[in-house]
């Protein structure tokens, strides 16, 4: 296996419903990534694209082929990835694998989604397709309802009184909104107070509107190159030093393991072992905060905090810049937004920019060397983790 580096990244602003097509959104992100990489479209040997709901949002299947041609990567092999909200991270991991194996030298990976364009009723219906359609959807399960049940379970299992947990969850959202304010790419750029979170509309008990990420439109892209090629393209290669992926079936089948998600723990273990690193080595982490409770569950399974304690860790600033690990300095899915097919590539974009110290001063982690991404698809059905390290 060869060393593989991220040599360039690109991203659109994540947003509410808008009129650019998915292919156009991806083109903007891809062009930026190619320019950063000092490459032309003809240099790209393959495209790996996350796109989940193009069929529903704009009646477009096979997005990968149209996207490849649109950006001038004529006739390259192009693959579409569907792993719900983890799709782009699946694409990046596979792109990494094909370059690491020596089959390709330069691959473009990323994703695009127009989740906001669908509107809340259709988006809620299609997101529920990531739960078991036969055995769980008849009950009326929705994506917020999945994490709402995990929140009650978390409170019961770890003995955290619900009012206390609710405050901890609100603090998670407030921190994400704080960083979203300083991220020009973010979908939601506003200050939101604890009081505003706790008085917002109850979506699915105990999760309120500000506990939930928005449906977003947006795209992200990155170029992966072999170490030898990377040296010629950039003085700041960001190496992929660890990667993991695992799957799991329907929510209820994870039973006594819940609220932990087993696939995450298997995936993270693969990534840490490959990198030869431990949770305490991670400086910056973009983790999958589709809901505030999801942040607590993720941070514990990634090994940053003990089970049942990460709410306290957030409250004490241990998940903030200057704390144990800087989590979601982009604003996370909560504030930066969640165009599901693009989200994982957007996380890699943030880590690369952070390690290159190119983000806004209000949210820059000084001297960060190692970053991690955590992307969750469905009810824990797909988990992908990547560990990235600065190469200079």
């Amino acid at each position: 296996m060869r060393k593989v580096a991220v040599v360039g990244v690109g991203e659109t602003k994540f947003s509410g419903p808008q009129e650019r097509t998915s292919v156009e959104l991806f083109a903007e992100a891809a062009a930026e990534a190619l320019t950063e990489s000092n490459l032309k479209p003809k240099d790209i040997q393959a495209l790996y694209l996350g796109n989940v709901l193009g069929d529903f949002s704009e009646g477009q299947g096979s997005m990968q082929a149209f996207a490849a041609e649109n950006i001038g990567c004529f006739n390259v092999p192009a693959n579409r990835y569907e792993g719900a909200c983890a799709s782009a991270s699946m694409a990046v991991r596979d792109a990494w694998m094909w370059v690491a194996s020596g089959f390709y030298d330069v691959v473009l990976a990323g994703g695009v989604e127009r989740a906001a364009t669908m509107g809340t009723p259709l988006a809620t219906r299609t997101f529920a397709m990531f739960s078991d359609s036969r055995y769980e959807f008849p009950s009326g399960i929705t994506f917020p309802a999945v994490f709402a049940m995990l929140a009650h379970l978390y409170a019961a299992k770890y003995g955290v009184p619900l009012p206390k947990l609710k405050e901890q969850l609100a603090a998670v959202s407030v921190q994400s909104y704080k960083y979203g304010m300083f991220n020009p790419q973010a979908h939601l750029r506003k200050e939101v107070t604890m009081e505003a979170v706790l008085s917002s509309f109850m979506v699915s008990t105990p999760l309120q509107l500000h506990d939930c990420c928005p449906f977003s439109d947006g795209a992200a892209a990155l170029v992966l190159a072999s170490e030898e090629t990377a040296k010629k393209l950039t003085s700041k290669p960001v190496f992929v030093v660890g990667a993991g992926q695992a799957s799991n079936g329907p929510l209820a089948n994870q039973q006594e393991y819940l609220p932990r998600l087993r696939a995450r723990e298997l995936s993270a273990k693969q990534a840490y072992e490959m990198a030869g690193l431990k949770p305490e080595d991670i400086d910056i982490c973009e983790l999958h905060d589709c809901f505030s409770i999801a942040s607590l569950i993720a941070a514990e399974s990634l090994g940053f905090f003990d089970y049942g304690t990460s709410g306290e860790a957030w409250a004490k600033g241990e998940a903030d810049i200057g704390g144990k690990v800087a989590i979601n300095t982009s604003g996370g899915l909560k504030a930066k937004g969640h165009p599901i097919g693009a989200t994982g590539a957007g996380q890699v974009y943030e880590i690369a920019k952070q390690l290159r110290e190119e983000v806004e001063p209000e949210r820059q982690v000084e001297g960060g060397r190692i970053g991690m991404t955590d992307t969750l698809g469905g009810d824990g059905c797909t988990l992908v983790n990547l560990i990235l390290q600065r190469g200079w």
Binding site: L122, T124, R125, M129, T205
Partner: protein, 138 residues
């Protein structure tokens, strides 16, 4: 290979308020909803059995925002029930005002199956569905 208990058979039984599962002849575990293999040991040596349809509430939520086409159902309460035979199962709660569903009144409480709620299906669902529906045990 014989697929011992299909979705259709499971659903049709559920519509008659009967909960079917699979008993592993290798390790004794019970698997529900059904699949090709035992959830514990992946053995294909399985026999169909009828479960008691009773258990304990592990968690719940009252949902106020539904999927497109199901808006008129809100508010409704979804449960994860730990069945007496071991597996956890997703279903609905009836007989309790969804607005009054709390951790104190529900988590850890015993429930039993009652008349199954039918989902008539929508344009994406390839037909109707059935949701195991529970009431609190008296």
């Amino acid at each position: 290979m014989e697929y011992k208990l299909t979705y259709k058979e499971y659903r049709e039984a559920l519509k008659q308020n009967k909960l079917l599962g699979l008993k592993c002849q290798n390790c004794g575990s019970v698997t529900v909803p059904p699949k090709l293999v035992c959830r514990s040991c992946a053995s294909m040596d399985l026999e169909v059995l009828e479960l008691k349809g009773a258990g304990k509430i592990q968690t719940f939520t009252t949902c106020n925002v539904a999927s497109e086409g199901r808006e008129s159902e809100v508010p409704y309460t979804i449960l994860l029930v730990e069945l007496d035979e071991g597996p956890w199962l997703m279903g609905n709660l009836t007989g309790v005002d969804p607005e009054k569903a709390t951790m104190e009144t529900l988590i850890g409480k015993r429930v039993k199956m009652t008349e199954t709620r039918i989902f008539p299906g929508d344009k994406y669902s390839a037909g109707e569905g059935a949701s195991p529906t529970f009431v609190l045990e008296a």
